[in-house]
């Protein structure tokens, strides 16, 4: 998944989004003094290698009514955690889903799944669905609701990162 300086320039240029013009890739190429064909080919390659996950619209889920969310956490048997994690991650109300190390004795949970819904009740109902899916492989669980955003900065491309 290696990218070169030109790839990096394309990513930096489109960080704020694609231009809303009939030929957005030509426009990006114009900014960077590159060929349109080259820009499209490079984006294609980065998408295939996974550097770019997708080129798409990100709806604002708050604006669309999905205003409740909770970080559900699960203590799942390590022998089946990858299989079950993939199933939880595929649920349409789960956005982020990860396996992480436990921090015993304070924190017995290894599977994290962010649940979204229009209200707290729906989030809790979704949580029950996950509980059912995990079954006996899950020893205990919890859900952490956020009460305040204390800081939020965008994940920017870091200049020096290579």
């Amino acid at each position: 998944m290696s990218i070169d300086q030109t790839d990096r320039r394309i990513l930096t240029a489109t960080e704020g989004g694609l231009p809303l013009s009939p030929t957005p890739y030509a426009e990006v190429a114009g900014w960077l003094d590159l060929d349109e064909v080259d820009v499209i080919a490079r984006l294609q390659r980065m998408q295939e290698s996974g550097v770019i996950r997708r080129i798409a619209i990100a709806p604002n889920h708050y604006a669309l009514g999905m205003v409740a969310n909770g970080m559900s956490v699960w203590d799942v048997d390590d022998t089946v955690s990858e299989t079950l994690g993939a199933q939880v991650g595929a649920l349409d109300f789960v956005s982020h889903c990860y396996l992480r190390p436990r921090a015993l004795p304070d924190w017995p949970y290894n599977l994290f799944a962010m649940i979204h819904g229009p209200d707290r009740e729906t989030v809790e109902a979704h949580r029950d669905e996950i509980k059912t899916l995990l079954g006996a492989a899950c020893r205990q669980s919890d859900i952490l609701y956020s009460t305040r955003i204390l800081k939020k900065t965008g994940m920017r491309l870091r200049k020096g990162a290579q």
């Binding site: 998944m1 989004g17 998408q47 550097v51 619209i57 990100a58 305040r148 204390l150 800081k151 939020k152």
Partner: protein
Amino acid sequence: MRRTPLPQDAIDDIDRKILNALQDGFPLSVRPFEDAAKPLGITETDLIERISRLREIGAITRFGPFMDAAAMGGAFCLCAIEVPCERFEEVMTLVNAFPEVAHNYERVHKLNMWFVLACDRTEDIAKTADRIEAKTGLTVLRFPKLKEFYIGFKVSA
């Protein structure tokens, strides 16, 4: 970013179709709006105007390439601290002052402060977490991702 729901009539059925369809992907072609507009039964111009409006009213947070942050060479780690209630504001100020702290949330739990560290290099994560511990006198639990299940979250518009 807008954090409250839009009124029901702020977007119509075509807007909803656009939001649902373009969450999955956008063409990499010479006339991508034309290609994306066709299956939606609208014109290229209409699609561009509607996306522009959806962006203005805050129905879209972003439209473009989404990078895998880690693939770009950065290192990330979710961390948590159990902050004594009476020290919460003070610790928040100390933690937020670190430029490596990208997001920070207060959550209802004994571990009541959750933040993401973003560093250029993997080795800087532990160093930064150690510095936060030194500064606050509190233990920083570290939860690096071992495995991500990324399928793509879809909001039904």
